[in-house]
C-alpha cells in the first residue's frame, strides 16, 4: 500500500452510559481498536457476537460518536463522517412501498440525482446483480437472496469509495450463501471498491478477504490480523485447498478457545 490507507481507526473506543448514569455501570463496547483498510482492499472482521462489531460500524458510518480515538478517511479526520461511507446493515431494509428499482436508487436520490437519471443508472446495473426483470416488483415478492442483492446494489449505487457490509449473508441458508459469496467475489473483482466486511463465518471471511481482523469481546478489541495470501480471482473450490484450511485454523483457534471459555468448558 502506498500513501494513506482509505480507512483507518486509531485507538477507537466507545463506552455507553449505564442505566443509572453512574461511572461504574458504564459499558465499554470498544477499546483501543486499530484498523487499517487500503484502497481496493477487501477486509473482514470476525468475532463472537457482542464483540462490538456493530458498534465499530456505527462509529465508522458516523451514526455514533466514539468516546476515544479517531477515524481517518484518506489519511484525514473528516469533520462529518455521516454520508462519507457506504453502509449496508444486516437487514436489507428495503422499503415495501417502493419498487425494487426505486429502492436501489435511494442513495442516488438522497445525493440529489434526478429520478430519471437515477433509474437509468440502476437499470444498467440490474443484470449484473441478477435482478433483471424484477425492477418493477415489490420487495415483498423477492426471495431473501434477491433482497440482499437489491440492498447491495443500493449500497453500490450510492457511490461511496468505502463500503461497510454488516453480515449481509447471515440470514441466508448455506446454499444460497455460497452462491452469493461467489457472486460477490465476481462483482467486487470488476469494481474493486474498498470493503470492510463483518461476518461470524470464518470460512466466508477467508474466502472473500485480503486480510482478516479477529476481534474478541467485552470489551471489544482487535486480537490479531491474518493476511490471506490466497491467489485471486478466487473460486468456491478454494475452500478445500490446504492453505485455506491452514488459514482458517489459525483464525478459528482463538475464537474457539473463547467460545469454550464462555460456555464454561475445559479447553
Amino acid at each position: 500500500m502506498t500513501g494513506s490507507p482509505k480507512l483507518a481507526t486509531e485507538g477507537l473506543g466507545k463506552t455507553f452510559p449505564g442505566p443509572d448514569g453512574s461511572p461504574e455501570s458504564e459499558v465499554c463496547a470498544l477499546t483501543g481498536v486499530d484498523l487499517v483498510v487500503g484502497g481496493g482492499e477487501f477486509v473482514s472482521l470476525v468475532g463472537p457476537s457482542g464483540c462490538g462489531k456493530s458498534t465499530l460500524f456505527n462509529c465508522v458510518a458516523g451514526l455514533a460518536r466514539p468516546s476515544s480515538g479517531r477515524i481517518l478517511i484518506d489519511g484525514r479526520e473528516p469533520e462529518r463522517l455521516l454520508g462519507l461511507v457506504g453502509y449496508m446493515p444486516q437487514r436489507d431494509l428495503l422499503m415495501p412501498w417502493r419498487t425494487v428499482l426505486d429502492n436501489c436508487t435511494l442513495g442516488l436520490e438522497m445525493s440529489g440525482v434526478r429520478r430519471r437519471e437515477a433509474r437509468a443508472r440502476a437499470r444498467e446495473a440490474l443484470p449484473r446483480f441478477g435482478l433483471d426483470g424484477f425492477e418493477d416488483r415489490w420487495p415483498a415478492s423477492l426471495s431473501g437472496g434477491m433482497r440482499q442483492r437489491a440492498a447491495l446494489l443500493r449500497t453500490f449505487l450510492a457511490g461511496r469509495d468505502v463500503m461497510l457490509l454488516d453480515e449481509p449473508f447471515g440470514a441466508l441458508d448455506a446454499l444460497t450463501r455460497s452462491g452469493m459469496q461467489a457472486w460477490l467475489l465476481e462483482v467486487w473483482e470488476s469494481d474493486r471498491k474498498t470493503i470492510l466486511f463483518v461476518t461470524h463465518d470464518v470460512e466466508e471471511a477467508v474466502l472473500l478477504s485480503d486480510r482478516v481482523y479477529v476481534m474478541s469481546g467485552r470489551p471489544g478489541r482487535m486480537d490479531m490480523c491474518v493476511e490471506i495470501d490466497l491467489p485471486r480471482p478466487r473460486a468456491l473450490g478454494t475452500t478445500t485447498t490446504p492453505r485455506f484450511t491452514e488459514l482458517k485454523a489459525r483464525i478459528l483457534a482463538p475464537l474457539q478457545t473463547a467460545a469454550l471459555a464462555q460456555a464454561g468448558l475445559p479447553e
Partner: protein, 251 residues
Amino acid sequence: MVLPPLAFSILFLAAWQAYCVVFDISDAALPTPVEVGQALWDQRQLLLDNTWVTVQEILLGLLCAIVVGVTLGALIRGSRMIERAVYPWLVVSQLVPIPAIAPIFVIWFGFDLRPKILVVALVSFFPIVVNTVDGLKAVEPELINLMRTLGASRRRIFLSAQLPAALPFIFSGVRIAAAFSVIGAVFGEWVGASEGLGYLILTLNNQTATDEVFAVVVVLAAIGIGLFALISLIERIVLPWYHRPRVDAAP
C-alpha cells in the same frame, strides 16, 4: 365473495320477519323487514332529499378531521414538547359530551352546515391523530439510520420513509373515524337542524312511525358501508404495495 354476507343477510332478515310474525310484535315496537322495505320505497323522495345534506356533513367533516388529524399527529410526533402540551387537551376534546358542545356550535355558527361539520370533525379526528402518531413511530429506526448514512435531510427522511410507513396506519384511523362520523352527523342534527337524516329520525320518532325510522337507519347504514368501501378503494389506489400477496420468486 359476495355470497357469505348476502347469505347471512337473507338469513338474518328471514329470522327477523319470522320473529315478528310468530310472536305478533306490534309494528310500533318492531316493524318487520317487509314493512321497513315498504317504508323505504314509499318515502324514497323524502329520504333522498335529506340524505344529501347528511352526506355533505359527513364528507366535509371527515375531510377536516383528516387534515387536522394528520397535521396534528405529525406535529406531535415531531416534538416531545408539543406532545406533552397537546395530548391532554386531545383527550379532553373527546370527553366533552356532544349534546353539551353541539348547541354551542349552533350558537356560534347558526343553523347551517357548519356546526354539524364541526361535530363530525370533533368525533372523527381523534382516532386519526392517534393512528398517525403510531404510524409515524412504526418506521424502523434502522431505516432512518440508513437514510442518514445516505446523507438524507430530516425533511427527506420524513417524506420518503416516515410518511409512507405511516399511511396504512392513517387509513386504519380514517376507517374508525368514518364509523364515528355517521353517528356524529346524526347527533349534530339532533341539536339544531331543519333537514337531514338525523333530523328525520327526530320528527319520525315523534310520529311513532317506527317503520320509517328504521328506513332512515337503513339509509344511514348504507352510507356507512359506502364510506368504508370508498376508503378501501382509495387505499387500494394509494397503497398498491400494501395488499400484494407474497409470490415465490426463483432466486
